[in-house]
Symmetry: C2
């Protein structure tokens, strides 16, 4: 088994240049200095750093997780080496302008290259990725002064960043956060409160850590409308902007997770001595809106990461299945016949094909989402820009929830392919499975995503996002010219035709007493909606593969295209029809879950 | 949260005395000394030992797993204390005759009481349970001399037992085992070979360990027909039957598992010095048949254990959901309104109801299976006995595979209910999930179970088992007198009516070239078959609950019965219709998985 192959060599080029037209982005001013060559070279660098410096300590960092001695957090040295290599590559600033010291790369390419890091070692990758996410917020909403203080050194990785949303008592219910920010005569604020599950909340990888913290300024409106956003550094900066004394923010303790064990997950205490300086970002009370504006990217990152961990489990179990000899396959069933590689067994093929469908489906979906961001950013037509933005908003819960639901399913099948070896810690299949188990929860649980879709995103701007989505799907299905994909498209059409009346019914239900059934059945609607989207995403891949199959003489490429077509068939035949059950549930306002009373459990 | 409540107080009485008629067994000679009172007292003892001595170290044994210093295996002391209490309770001999020092308890009761141990601490429970399984084989097939040597001290737990089937290179393919047994002039054999994944293969809990080992006597037939079974003790016995010198069987190493970490999983080396004494059990070359005869019980035990770990996760997340306040529910949605317990949220209800349907469905199924063993054992009519035996054989793959597929699904939802807390090791939800991940693999992977069903069990004795199953289902559905359950039965009938033609089609496919599709699609057939059975199992529960609901004034019992009815509705509405997809796949001989070529991955 070649454990060093993180991604099949044909996968990213196929997604970027055949399924998507990423090269076309170079026609825009923003990316005019780029070409397929510069994209590929950048991805190649990512591959090299990920393979050489992230992959080798993935298992080690899981076994020997960060420790807190009451003063400092320590971790295995390989994390810092890998983090520094990432910093030095310039990837943290990858998406930003040349003038900011960035590489001015499209989101599509940034997402693609991130795949190597997520496949190699999601826990170490979290440190630079969280920093990118924090930069994104500061870049958009912070004053020039605050930006100047923090962003340049975050872009180089000298400073890292975190997102401090969740509090111990409130979880997903941000309306109820209790952290306060009191204005100080020097124009800054004093922060006081506790945050929990803050990834990367303490470590010694960087000179400073900039926490983006949601807090309430006393006297503001109740609920989510009274939340403001603050930059709270671990170390204050002196008059020259240099790192100075400790700020009053402290590590209350490390949280011990089941996966992503190499990433510190922290409980942080702000203002125990009432001296925690925070800087207001943007306007008071707009904090949650700022955060949510940045959620699209963050949620694509979680979805893509989940797909990549799923993909790594798929590749790992695939290598095992090719290598492991066991049992026999027809017609050679005699005891004297040699044992077959388990990849020859029908049930193993099924489990590998499902993993392929789940993980590559998620990868392709998230690259489509990233590409949408590039299309929005490069769009000159304001109407079209608005339409694409609505589409992205609509897809965001799916981009987060579907890959983080199905990536872990792939990892579960990865364990099963290994049999007894799969449940031992001597093999990594179980680590992938544990790592991926965080993804359905963090960055908004998948339950929250389903509610977001059902109660908000579908109806936003009079359902504009949905209209645009339907146009995109129709355009793709109409353009199909190849016979195998045409059959798949026909099967999908049966479900698409049911979607419109179903959504009309759901929309009407929102204003009736049956709305209660929808809070309980939102996951069923997410299943339907996401499965139709992934079917379309698979048809896009199959269509391109079927076209390319007849144009190449390279048998490796032919095999790759055949695999794509077969995985699309698997998804359409084995997974898509399952949503018929969900369609019935919603059509009939099924109230089994909403009728259930707490005392009946 | 009351972490000490392992099983809802109404659950086992409902299953044993309402759904099943366990008391009726006391009319038979074998159980005539028993009554509901003795059954309940025995279960109460199990509950007490499990709660007091097994539950408290469940998390500890997971964190501080057994260690091997090259000489001996050590583990935390609580395991031995718990094991000794189990021994002293007499439960190891529970199912055996009074004359053998047993309690002469029905399988149904033995399974029920085992539920407390599995819920409390599956890893420690494995030691006595594996011993019971080994006793079962010896009791049925060993010569009196061998029985005399080992069984009495195994029944008291002075000796423990293991099952040594799997070898490193062969996995599920027992035909390919290489361990040899050479006959010795003293009538014993010399065993030589390696076994892997042997649970309880070494430890200091007992004075001796009796390994039941599959090996080949040179010169025998190739494949599975040449496998014999041997008893191989860790320590030899002297002329007086006392424990003497070490036998030549050694611990090659401990395997580090992702779950069940408190149970030693071992690689064992037999005959390194060519001096490993083994005793032939029964006839030469009949070893695999003996093992499989005992598989029914062993597989019910795995299925029931998986259901109980699922149930524990359900109860754990249920307690959390009642306790945890977060967010608001209609009509109290204002920020000033108090936060609601998360059990009030629709999506949380859905996740709890699914857990209830999965775990209690598995519990009820396995108790039905155990009761079938009692019905077989007490049956005077030879024809009926044969019929029931065929039914048990047919159900065995389902008894193992369905609960071990859906128990882990329950544990996954248990994590999700806890949100961020669910992915931390500060809470136990993740341990249940890890522990249960072994169950779809060991004691025959679920893939093997699906093949066993598809290629063997359905057709055995001209499909007699299936005919008996249909009679049992028809009898239950016809007897329904209550309106809510009648509706559920009507929904199930739609699928039952499709089963007969489908199985006819599958049966025909077995002799056509399309048989290849069946090796890849066997899991789909398992889904269909098992889901129909679980639907029936839920209708049995709902029917009884609906009858009892109107007969009681006790509001706690009313709530319990309402919960049963609602969980049945959940399963029939939300899970049963999913098999329509599988029915189409098999009806159309879907060849997506079997067509997939290894080089296309």
């Amino acid at each position: 088994m070649d454990a060093n192959t993180l991604i099949n060599e044909f996968e990213l080029p196929f997604q970027l240049y055949d399924v998507l037209d990423t090269e076309q982005l170079c026609e825009h001013d923003r990316f005019s200095e780029h070409s397929r060559q510069t994209f590929d070279a950048t991805i190649e660098t990512a591959k090299k750093i990920a393979t050489d410096l992230f992959l080798p300590h993935n298992a080690t960092a899981d076994k020997d997780e960060p420790k807190f001695d009451g003063q400092k957090v320590s971790m295995i040295e390989e994390v810092k080496v890998a983090f520094d290599a990432f910093r030095n590559s310039g990837f943290i600033a990858g998406r930003y302008s040349f003038e900011d010291g960035g590489m001015q790369l499209p989101e599509t390419v940034m997402t693609a290259l991130s795949g190597y890091f997520m496949a190699a070692n999601p826990a170490t990758t979290a440190y630079p990725f969280l920093t990118s996410a924090a930069i994104n917020v500061l870049m958009h909403f912070a004053s020039n002064e605050i930006k100047q203080a923090f962003v340049p050194r975050m872009l180089t990785g000298e400073f890292t960043g975190t997102m401090g949303l969740t509090e111990p008592h409130a979880g997903s219910s941000l309306a109820d956060i209790k952290t306060t920010a009191t204005s100080h005569e020097d124009g800054t604020y004093r922060i006081r409160g506790s945050k929990i599950y803050i990834s990367g909340g303490d470590h010694e990888l960087s000179e400073n850590i900039v926490h983006l913290v949601l807090a309430k300024v006393p006297g503001g409106p109740a609920g989510v409308k009274g939340i403001s956003l603050f930059a709270v550094p671990k170390y204050r900066l002196d008059a020259n902007g240099e790192v100075a004394e400790r700020n009053d923010v402290h590590l209350a303790g490390l949280i011990h997770k089941l996966g992503y064990r190499g990433t510190t997950s922290t409980a942080l205490s702000f203002g125990d001595a009432n001296d925690c300086v925070g800087y207001l970002i943007g306007e008071k009370h707009f904090g949650l809106r700022y955060m949510f504006k940045m959620m699209n990217e963050a949620r694509i990152a979680v979805g893509f990461g989940a797909a990549m961990i799923g993909y790594r489990g798929y590749q790992y179990s695939l290598a095992y299945a090719k290598d492991r000899l066991q049992g026999r396959v027809a017609p050679n069933l005699k005891p004297e016949d040699p044992a077959a590689a388990i990849i020859e067994h029908g049930d193993v093929k099924r489990m590998l094909l499902a993993q392929k469908a789940y993980s590559e489906g998620g990868i392709s979906l998230c690259l489509y989402g990233s590409n949408l961001i590039d299309r929005i950013n490069t769009c000159a037509d304001e109407t079209q820009k608005q339409e694409l933005s609505e589409l992205l908003d609509l897809l965001t819960p799916v981009l987060k929830a579907w890959p983080s639901e199905y990536g872990p399913k792939a990892n579960d099948l990865g364990i099963q392919v290994l049999g007894g070896a799969g449940y031992t810690r001597e093999y990594q299949a179980e680590q992938f499975w544990r790592d991926n188990r965080l993804n359905p929860i963090h960055e908004g649980t998948n339950g929250i995503q389903a509610l977001d879709l059902t109660f908000r995103k579908l109806w936003q701007k009079q359902g504009l996002g949905l209209k645009v989505l339907q146009q995109e799907i129709t355009r793709d299905l109409t353009a199909i010219t190849t016979p195998q994909t045409a059959k798949l498209a026909k099967k999908l059409t049966v479900y698409i035709e049911q979607l419109q009346p179903l959504l009309q019914h759901v929309g009407q239900t929102l204003t009736t007493p049956q709305v209660d059934t929808l809070t309980a059945n939102a996951q069923a609607l997410m299943n339907i909606f996401a499965t139709i989207i992934i079917s379309w995403i698979w048809i896009r891949q199959a269509s391109k593969a079927e076209q390319l199959l007849v144009l190449t003489e390279d048998s490796d490429k032919q095999n790759f295209y055949q695999g794509k077509i077969q995985a699309a068939k698997y998804f359409i035949d084995w997974e898509l029809p399952l949503i018929q059950c969900d369609i019935e549930l919603l059509t009939n306002d099924n109230s089994v879950c909403s009728d259930m009373q707490p005392q009946w459990f």
